[in-house]
């Protein structure tokens, strides 16, 4: 792989898991500075309803709708050179109108090496099946 300061694939995977942990912790604590750091300028987010946000919108959405991870994420990491694919389900407690709800989502993230370090450039979320939902 192209080296982001990593000596091999497993080192890259370790860095990516650490990046995701930083992002997850920042979401839990509403830490906009860390989100600003882990998201590249080109970052885009597809929310569970299919709407698209840019970096600023994604950070604002995290501030507006607090969420925290309620179950440790099963994370799969694949590295293609200086680009990586992170996938896995995650359980979130989301606060909407002062009411906390638990939702299960599946998240795909893309990270790239930018100026020597991994940053997220894309994230996409799909909500777990609801009654009556099809394909």
């Amino acid at each position: 792989m192209t080296e982001p300061g990593a000596s091999n694939q497993s080192e890259g995977e370790r860095q990516l898991r650490q990046l995701e942990q930083r992002r997850s912790d920042a979401m839990d604590s509403g830490d906009a500075d860390t989100l600003n750091d882990v998201y590249a300028e080109e970052f885009q987010l597809v929310h569970g309803d299919g709407t698209l946000d840019d970096k600023r919108g994604a950070i604002e959405a995290a501030r507006r709708v607090p969420r925290r991870v309620v179950a440790k994420r099963e994370l799969s990491v694949r590295i293609f050179g200086d680009t990586a694919l992170l996938t896995g389900p995650v359980g979130l407690a989301v606060t909407i109108d002062a009411e906390e709800r638990t939702v299960q989502v599946y998240m795909t993230q893309i990270a790239r090496v930018i100026e020597g370090r991994w940053q997220f450039i894309w994230a996409q979320v799909t909500l777990r099946a609801r009654a009556g939902a099809a394909t």
Binding site: F80, T83, W122
Partner: protein
């Protein structure tokens, strides 16, 4: 035309081929289009590997029409990322009596490794609500 532009053209052709195979129910073509490591996140947020995905298509899904809009593709080293908005007319086992009565709009993301025959590696579908 640069080699990258040519690869981009080939990529778009491959996507058209993929969509056509979905509508035709050409499972052998679909099997050839995707990597052995292929993974799909379907709109029910289920993770399907290659065989599970092909089984799901055969068993439950029939595409009647696929329209792909706002296609964007970027090459990132060994990987192409393609994002597009997809309008699909489809029927689903147990719903609409097999008639093409279900219309969905998805945001789709495709992963393709250019170095390995433009095989599709990963698809994630999110339905527009």
């Amino acid at each position: 035309m640069s080699s990258r532009e040519l690869e981009g053209q080939n990529l778009m052709h491959q996507i058209e081929l993929f969509d056509a195979a979905l509508v035709a129910g050409d499972y052998e073509c679909l099997r050839r289009c995707v990597s052995p490591n292929y993974m799909m996140i379907n709109p029910l947020a289920q993770r399907l590997n290659k065989e599970a995905w092909l089984g799901w298509l055969r068993r439950d899904i029939r595409y009647h029409r696929i329209e792909r809009n706002q296609v964007s593709n970027r090459v990132l080293g060994a990987v192409w990322i393609v994002t597009s908005e997809v309008r699909a007319v489809m029927s689903v086992a147990g719903l609409s009596n097999g008639e093409p009565g279900i219309h969905h709009t998805f945001r789709t993301e495709l992963w393709v490794i250019s170095a390995d025959g433009l095989l599709l590696e990963h698809v994630h579908l999110t339905r527009m609500e």
